[in-house]
Subunit: 324 residues, 3 copies
């Protein structure tokens, strides 16, 4: 789940409580190993629970500690100690930053050096002015275009062709993948807590994962996940100027036309077809084999095998009938 | 029509039949010179015919051979030998790739070298880190900005100003043209045959043709044509972040505002005005002097002199009345 | 108002009249110092007045001369001499170009030189291949990413982080600002007079002003103003692939999601929230605390504290009711 960001833990629960400025008369001496969501947290991890919506997951979490509210704490299992705070997400952000301080800011990668001076010289076919950061690996038979920057924390498989002027960081690129020109892949998402003097960015400890046989068009921006990963399924093709926000998961064999935007945390099935300029709101579930006509605005879940169109998107036959 | 892609033909019809894995008891010894569409194919060329829609063109084609289906073959003239296949487009792609193997993949141009080492030194005013590929010509009084890559197969006229960080390939640029920063012009379009393990890209043997006095805004992506060319008419101005797909033809004196997207093979007339973020579906015909309000989604042909708005776009007065 | 463009005036009114090719039997010997809009012009400046809409401003202008029409001239105060022309905007463009000849064309900045050879070496933390133009200043504790070009006329405050592959010119960047990768900031807007042989660009003498604590996402295009400035208010955050046209003013603490486009001269209040892919037409006023749902198309003014959705955007509850 987290191959790239360095976990600065463990921290004692005492230290974590102090950073949250809460009063908890704790006799616990436990060390907390990591922070994770309700589903993925293990014993000795800390998690967070901020909405009734996740009650079922909360009930089964293995985490030893949970940042939550008084109203929600009773849904946690007995082996999980609640840490009661005013704002769960802000507190979670503080703790996440403690474990992963490098995942908050995305300044340019100062470790990038000329590929001619790296171990990839002679192994990769590359253009002029290509830079490679730390913790990068590149498989066999790969091409990297002019002025492209492979920043730190990137693993590229075999037979990949990366275009020119692209920037990639914190990303797993599979095999037989084409990433065209002017892309920015693996930056943090548009996630922060609004604040009237200075918004507070929260860490993005997820990565981008692009599976085998994909093609990513020119000018794409694919943001890495905050707590989970942003995933592009196998053999999925993206046209030019597409934006994929943090935590989005796209299934395999999906085809997405130009200028489409997918907001944070939405999950798309496999064999989905999306026409140009369509927008998909955040936190939605789009089923398998769904077809969405170009220009649509999707604001609710779409079941498997549906064909939709419009803003808000609805059954395509109904839309065309309503708009004769 | 095809100044840039090298025709690897001629091939014997026997060899072509073999690559299509069809059984045709042919006594023909003919050499096939080129592949082209129904209208433009000449004697000794091969063409393709996949839809009733093109019946009239099929009837008059000069091609000696035609990839088609049993159902369609009777619409071909007597001098044209039908090659019957299951999937006309996939078979056409196989034959096109045979003639034009360089038109399938758009890897970065490895032939690009520092402009300082080319014949353009002292003849063109250019920035730092400018690269020039093979088969490039540049007229008098031109400017090329920093980090811009003129890849192979580009002809630029006189008095052109190219911005920084742009990439151009397989493109005819006329005179007095401005191409601003971060553009990608002349890449293959978003054209492939979906396939559940690995989509199959078909060749794009068309080019991009930008006529005199045009301006192309920052961040544009203009894809080259597959079988025909992508054309931007004289004195047409494009704002920032516009996407023009393969085979699109835009008339002269047209004005297109920011973030507009035009899908494949649509044809726009002259003196057209398009507001920001409008999307135009593929294979449409937009007439002369048409005005399309910003944000519209055009899904059918628009006759000359119309003013439209909405999604789907309709008469602007009707739209505004319906949406009071 | 105009820290970057060099005023080539003053010019005698006689010379200005000659460049406009009008007949005005003038005995005036006055020198004209500058050109400005009705509100900001001072004594000895020239201004322009082209629409009844600005009657109240015309009535109070301090300008000594005004380019206008016969129909409008009587709304000017007695101390302001009308210069009667056929097309006010074209004539204004001619005079503006006389004062500010450098503000018409945005060719790449030939003065850009390697940052290693500038005074910023050792003072700024920067990547490879960074270029700096003339008249640039950079505060303390700043980062500038690889391949980024700070063209001429840029002032950057303290604690700013600029990404890679970005281009900035004619811009005031405040403190604590992040500008991510692949942005183009400060280019002229999409402003010109259509003309059937060759459109005529008018000068853009405004700048871009980005106030403290802002974040500008990847792939943004923010055009500078024509006569006034393009302004991004304090602590305003922009997601990826956003287009902000010339003269737009965005208030503080505003949040704008991905792929939004804002057309020329619109003014947004503070604490505005805009969902992804929304388009806002030109010359509109969006009030404080307005929320605009993603995918909306805003074509009229929106009062303070409204929540809107749809195309055209209307009250969000009404929209959702109408579109059940």
């Amino acid at each position: 789940m987290n191959p790239f960001f360095n976990n600065h833990g463990p921290f004692s629960i005492f230290e974590i409580i102090k950073s949250l400025k809460i009063n908890l008369q704790s006799t616990h001496k436990d060390e907390v190993k990591d922070i994770n969501d309700l589903l993925n947290a293990n014993v000795n991890d800390i998690t967070f629970f901020h909405s009734k919506k996740y009650k079922d997951l909360a009930n089964k979490t293995k985490a030893s500690y949970c940042i939550t509210t008084s109203a929600l704490k009773n849904d946690l299992p007995r082996n999980c100690v609640p840490l009661i705070v005013d704002n769960v997400l802000v507190s979670t952000s503080i703790v996440t930053e403690k474990f992963y301080p490098d995942a908050v800011n995305d300044n340019f990668d100062y470790t990038g050096q000329d590929i001619d001076k790296t171990k990839f010289k002679g192994k990769v076919k590359y253009g002029k002015n290509v830079l490679i950061g730390e913790n990068v690996s590149i498989g066999s038979n790969c091409l990297i275009g002019h002025n492209t920057i492979i920043e730190k924390n990137v693993i590229i498989g075999n037979n990949c062709s990366i275009g020119s002027n692209s920037i990639i960081r914190n990303t797993l690129v599979g095999n037989n993948i084409k990433i065209l020109d002017n892309c920015v892949i693996g930056k943090h998402g548009f996630g922060f807590f609004p604040n009237n003097t200075k918004n507070i960015r929260y860490p993005h400890i997820g990565i981008v994962q692009i599976n085998d046989n994909c093609e990513i068009g020119c000018g794409a921006t694919i943001d890495r996940g905050s707590m989970s990963n942003t995933i592009i399924g196998k053999n999925t093709f993206l046209d030019n100027q597409i934006h994929v926000a943090h935590n989005v998961k796209i299934g395999e064999n999906t085809i997405i036309a130009g200028q489409v935007g997918i907001a944070g945390s939405s999950v798309l099935g496999k064999n989905v077809k999306i026409g140009g300029q369509t927008g998909i709101s955040g936190h939605l579930k789009i089923g398998d084999n769904v077809e969405i006509a170009g220009g649509s605005g999707v604001i609710k879940d779409i079941p498997d095998n549906s064909k939709v169109m419009g803003y808000p998107a609805k059954n395509i036959r109904q839309f065309l009938r309503d708009n004769k």
